[in-house]
């Protein structure tokens, strides 16, 4: 057990990798076995992330469960993993979304082996990003997480999948193209010739103008993945084309990578530059919030609607980061977590509906509440979380962010609050048109979510509720790390 605890992060990382290896060895036709392997691998990673959560010591901002292996010492590249408050929530989020994503795709029949292999590669990348404390590995895992997306969407997707996959890939690669020089630049201009993020953060390098440029690269590079305005258009189209669980992973986890990257690399290593960039970030975040909500309001496709709502919600994350206050940053991270769970729930419900009705056109649906009470209830829970209804996790996130925003930038903050109405508008509109109203003849006999497929969704909904009622679970763990970060940001 002690050995396990000492290497727990690497083991988490290995869960999908080993799962991938085993899946590759399984004969193509044995779908059930492949799914079982995937479920075990994802379940194990979830259990281990819970274990990390339990082991985490909230009373310090230091990195914990650190593992350090020299890899290319001459180039300053080492394998360093560790978690602090900022990444802890992300690890748990990934564990939950991965597990539920696998369960959601239990009914998949098309090229099962490849699907789960790619998914696990993707998740390995995501875990890697969240635990890496070395820029090189961070980037490596980042790319690993981004690239399987193309195939997952292009092969298993639906509407305009090739186009969407290509657009998504081009966008993300463009982001990477900005990131790569920026990361090299960080290692180079720090004068330390190291990729160790902790060392880079602790060094009191005077970045000067170079810091501003590097931060810009990092912000835009990661921001593309986080869907910042105006680099967001790939995201909804990708959601629409992607299969259910990929949408879950995409909106639930992948978009968080972007925000996490800005936080972990941009803000921690280049705090002064963050100070200069903050107003820009805040204004763009405001654009995200309002603009995303209004575009969502105009959508006729369920997934597009959720896709744009993600754009709006990621704006909340960026706004929180831009406040550079304890409450704001805590809220932003909370929002990353909550939004991840929430969209996963959203997409898993939409996926169920789409699988049964074969349409996502809002105008063609209606009265589903009576044929699919479970799916509808879960969707409504997700929707309520989306519009910030209390007792669901995202309420706290938005509350903290907006209050902090009003304190830092009153005008932007109050305008951002207006976004809440817009998001309420589109969520309620969609609930009304899709679930309420007289049940339509066409969908009358469609089955609801079966008992077997329910647990995945219940886990997601339950997580939303638990963190909504006991926000301290999240905030306590964030406390010290965010405080340290705020201290750095304040100079």
């Amino acid at each position: 057990m002690a050995w396990l605890d000492a290497h727990i992060l690497t083991i988490i990382l290995m869960c999908p990798v080993v799962g991938l290896g085993i899946v590759m060895l399984i004969h193509n036709g044995k779908d059930l076995l492949i799914k079982q392997v995937a479920a075990v691998s994802s379940g194990l990673s979830l259990v281990l992330s819970l274990r990390v959560w339990a082991l985490f010591d909230a009373s310090t901002a230091e990195l914990q469960m650190v593992e350090r292996v020299a890899w290319l010492p001459s180039a300053g590249i080492n394998y360093i993993v560790g978690v602090d408050g900022l990444s802890l929530a992300m690890v748990l989020l990934t564990g939950i979304v991965f597990f539920t994503g696998v369960l959601t795709m239990w009914e998949l029949t098309n090229r099962v082996k490849e699907y789960f292999a790619f998914t696990m590669a993707l998740v390995a990348g995501v875990f890697g990003v969240f635990i890496s404390q070395d820029l090189f590995f961070f980037f490596l895992f980042y790319e690993l997480a981004v690239l399987p997306m193309y195939l997952l969407i292009a092969i298993w997707g639906s509407t305009r999948r090739e186009f969407a996959a290509m657009k998504l890939t081009l966008f993300l690669l463009a982001g990477s193209a900005l990131l790569f020089p920026a990361l090299i630049g960080l290692a180079h201009y720090s004068g330390l010739n190291t990729f160790d993020m902790t060392l880079l953060a602790e060094a009191d390098t005077d970045w000067g103008g170079m810091g501003l440029i590097l931060f810009g690269f990092i912000y835009v590079g990661f921001g593309v993945l986080a869907g910042i305005f105006p680099f967001h258009t790939w995201s909804p189209i990708g959601h629409v084309a992607a299969p259910t669980a990929v949408s879950m992973l995409h909106a639930g986890v992948l978009m968080k990578l972007g925000a996490y990257g800005v936080l972990r690399i941009g803000m921690i290593i280049l705090p002064e530059a963050m100070g200069s960039w903050a107003p820009v970030i805040a204004v763009l975040a405001l654009c995200n919030i309002l603009y995303g909500a209004f575009v969502a309001l105009g959508q006729t496709d369920l997934k597009y609607m959720i896709g744009y709502s993600s754009v709006s919600h990621m704006g909340v994350v960026m706004l929180g980061l831009a406040t550079m206050t304890h409450a704001g940053i805590s809220g932003a991270i909370f929002q990353m977590f909550a939004h991840g769970i929430m969209t996963a729930l959203f997409f898993s419900c939409v996926g169920h509906i789409y699988d049964r009705t074969h349409t996502r056109e809002i105008s063609r649906l209606g009265g589903l509440f009576h044929t699919m009470p479970r799916a509808s209830t879960l969707f409504i829970i997700a929707g309520m979380a989306g519009i910030g209804v209390p007792c669901l996790a995202s309420f706290w996130a938005e509350f903290l962010v907006f209050v902090a925003a009003v304190k830092t930038w009153p005008i932007i903050g109050i305008l951002a609050i207006c976004g809440l109405v817009a998001s309420a508008l589109f969520v309620l509109r969609v609930i009304q048109k899709t679930f309420f109203g007289p049940p339509l003849e066409a969908w009358k006999d469609l089955p609801d979510i079966s008992n077997g497929m329910l647990p995945a969704r219940l886990i997601l909904a339950g997580t939303l509720l638990v963190f909504g009622i006991i926000p301290g679970l999240m905030l306590t763990n964030l406390d010290e790390s965010v405080r340290a970060l705020v201290a750095v940001l304040a100079g």
Binding site: F294, V295, T377, V389, F399, V403, V406, F436, G472, D479
Partner: protein, 610 residues
């Protein structure tokens, strides 16, 4: 048991019912109903225990809930005269409505969901009332919105109900923005939002006046949304699409009362800025008048009551804005009683007539439902401000307070009282005294017993409640004098005149049979104007169709036209560039080699130069 424990029970018991329903007890609806009733009983008991055991100077307890360095949110109870009194109203009405619902919803297949959500409603409302922290209040406030959404849209297969639920949620949310902004503004100066902290800060008078005014207006926005004041009131009449017990609860003790309660709670804050106070008063008078005129021409029984609620809520706010907590709050209490009674009676009528149309009810049911008729008469008499009845006592206090604020407001209020009397008696006359009455067969049912019982109890309560003003004032920490009516004053005389004029006109119009159109119909333009709710609804529809939809279209246009086109344009440009590059890719290895070496040489030269 400690006060804290009672408060826990008051909030926790209904919440437990809700979660039990959510987590699968839906399969056993009868169990949910039983549990729900039990919890309602517990809540009522708890609220009364809190009120009766309230120590001098109140009781406060709190535990941290969400803590950050910039501010923290705590969960706790702040029991004062005001909050416990309000809690009693909520608890009692909630219990009565639940009992009524047992009969009302007896045949509904989804009654488990109904009772669960109703319990959530109670939890949320009590959350507002007992809260020690404005952030907690806000949370509960939002939950009230959620619960009302679910309840109004309970029969969601009915498109109108779904639409009304959405409207209620969105409009109150509009108000909540203001509330949220106000809270956020406060937090930017304070470390937390504990009510005591806020009140102390207001008392210390350290904030600049503009800031106080801004906060006040923001909060007022939230109150206007929840308590259905102009211009955010239009959701309330539509909310009648929900089941009648919901309307009853919504209008009397929860939801709409929440706004008024918040005003009462933070009264010092509002009064600290003269502008806010005057603005609130003006808004209340205007809304009262508006709503009353609409009520005079409305033909749906529940909608008349809804407009009347808006008007009466304005009266409460008038009292509070005029500076009298006792007056405003007392009116809330009495109104809770009689409006609940009215709705539940209306429910009986509608149940019997299968329609909400006043004329149809008069024709089909009328006096053949004695219990309903009793409720209606008692309620309307109280509503109209008949001396000695509940409405009169509290309204008199309000008018008295408003009188001190200037003749304009007072005359407006007085005119509204006259109109109130008119539409109250119009309701009675239209419903009970229809000369062309058809014969009806009675629908005796066991379920009806529950409902009739509740109506009777409420009628008795309504009769008595008007005389509790003194006790209430004492409980609120004021002197009993504040609730004393000066019978021999000019104010009472004016009120009597207004009552007589209103009631008389109603009798002239409807009491004697005839065409039953009313005096307002003689001025068609005005009638239309009133019937359309002064065009506010149309305004919102235009706002939604033109404003919101326009913004949406604009955003879509930008997204598809500008951003996506730019992005795809970049793609196309890349393609063109790729074409150019492909020309270079002509299959001549020699060319590739030359290019590679040229680049290498350049690089080497550059390195050499460095």
């Amino acid at each position: 048991m400690t006060l804290n424990a009672w408060a826990d029970i008051a909030i926790g018991a209904p919440l437990a019912v809700f979660f039990a329903m959510l987590l699968g007890m839906r399969a056993w609806p009868r169990a949910v109903v039983g549990l729900s009733l039990l919890s309602a009983l517990a809540v009522a008991l708890a609220t009364w225990m809190m009120a009766l055991n309230l120590p001098e100077g109140g009781f406060t307890s709190s535990v941290p809930w969400a803590v950050t360095d910039d501010f923290s949110v705590s969960f706790g109870y702040r029991l004062t005269g005001l909050s416990t009194a309000m809690a009693c109203v909520v608890g009692t009405i909630h219990l009565l409505v639940q009992v009524y619902s047992v009969g009302y919803m007896a045949d509904d297949p989804h009654k488990a969901r109904f009772f669960g959500t109703l319990s959530l409603f109670a939890t949320a409302m009590l959350g507002i009332v007992l809260s020690a922290d404005l952030a907690q209040t806000f949370i509960a406030w939002e939950l009230v919105g959620l619960a009302s959404y679910l309840l109004i849209g309970f029969w969601n297969a009915k498109p109108a109900a779904a639409q009304a639920a959405k409207k209620a949620f969105i409009m109150t949310r509009f108000g909540d923005l203001g509330l949220f902004a106000g809270l956020a503004l406060m937090v930017s100066r304070l470390g937390d939002l504990k009510i005591d902290t806020v009140l102390l800060a207001v008392e210390a008078n350290t904030w600049e006046p503009g800031f106080v005014t801004a906060i006040g207006l923001c909060l007022l926005c939230g109150i206007a949304g929840k308590s259905a004041q102009f211009p955010l009131h239009t959701w309330l009449p539509d909310a009648m699409e929900g089941p009648t017990p919901v309307s009853s609860l919504l209008h009397s003790a929860t939801m709409v009362a929440a706004g008024v309660y918040l005003f009462a709670l933070l009264q010092p804050l509002f009064l600290a800025s003269e502008f806010t106070a005057t603005f609130a008063l003006g808004l209340a008078v205007f809304t009262a008048l508006l709503a009353a005129t609409v009520a005079c021409v409305e033909t749906d029984m529940k909608r008349v009551l809804a407009w009347s609620s808006i008007s009466q809520l304005s009266f409460m706010l008038m009292g509070l804005a005029a500076g009298s907590q006792v007056a405003g709050f007392f009116h809330l209490v009495t109104h809770a009683g009689f409006k609940c009674l009215l709705f539940l009676s209306a429910g009986l009528f509608i149940h019997a007539a299968h329609t909400g149309d006043l004329l149809a009810i008069g024709r089909k049911v009328g006096r053949s439902a004695p219990v309903a008729a009793l409720g209606l008469v008692v309620g309307c008499v109280a509503l109209s401000g008949f001396p000695g009845f509940a409405g009169f006592m509290s309204k008199e206090l309000v008018l008295h307070a408003v009188h001190e604020q200037g003749m304009v407001f007072y005359s407006g209020a007085l005119l509204t009282s006259a109109l109130t009397a008119y539409y109250a008696f119009r309701l009675v006359f239209l419903a009970l005294f229809d000369p062309e009455r058809e014969s009806v067969e009675a629908h005796p049912s066991a379920a009806l017993k529950w409902q009739q019982g509740v109506v009777v109890i409420l009628a008795v309560l309504t009769l008595g409640i008007g005389w509790t003003g003194g006790d209430l004032a004492r409980h609120l920490g004021a002197s009993a004098d504040e609730a004393h009516i000066h019978w021999m004053s000019s104010g009472v005389a004016f009120a009597m005149v207004a009552l007589v004029l209103g009631a008389g006109l109603a009798f002239v119009d409807f009491g004697r049979g005839g065409e039953r159109a009313g005096s307002f119909a003689k001025f068609p333009a005005m009638h239309r104007f009133f019937a359309s709710g002064w065009g506010v609804d149309a305004f919102w529809r235009t706002f939604s169709d033109v404003g919101i939809a326009g913004l949406t279209r604009l955003a879509l246009l930008i997204d598809r036209g500008a951003i996506d086109r730019t992005v795809d344009g970049t793609g196309a440009a890349t393609k063109v560039l790729g074409g150019v590059a492909a020309r270079m890719q002509n299959g001549r290895v020699q060319l590739y080699l030359s290019i590679a070496l040229g680049l290498l040489a350049t690089g080497l030269l550059a390195l050499g130069a460095m």
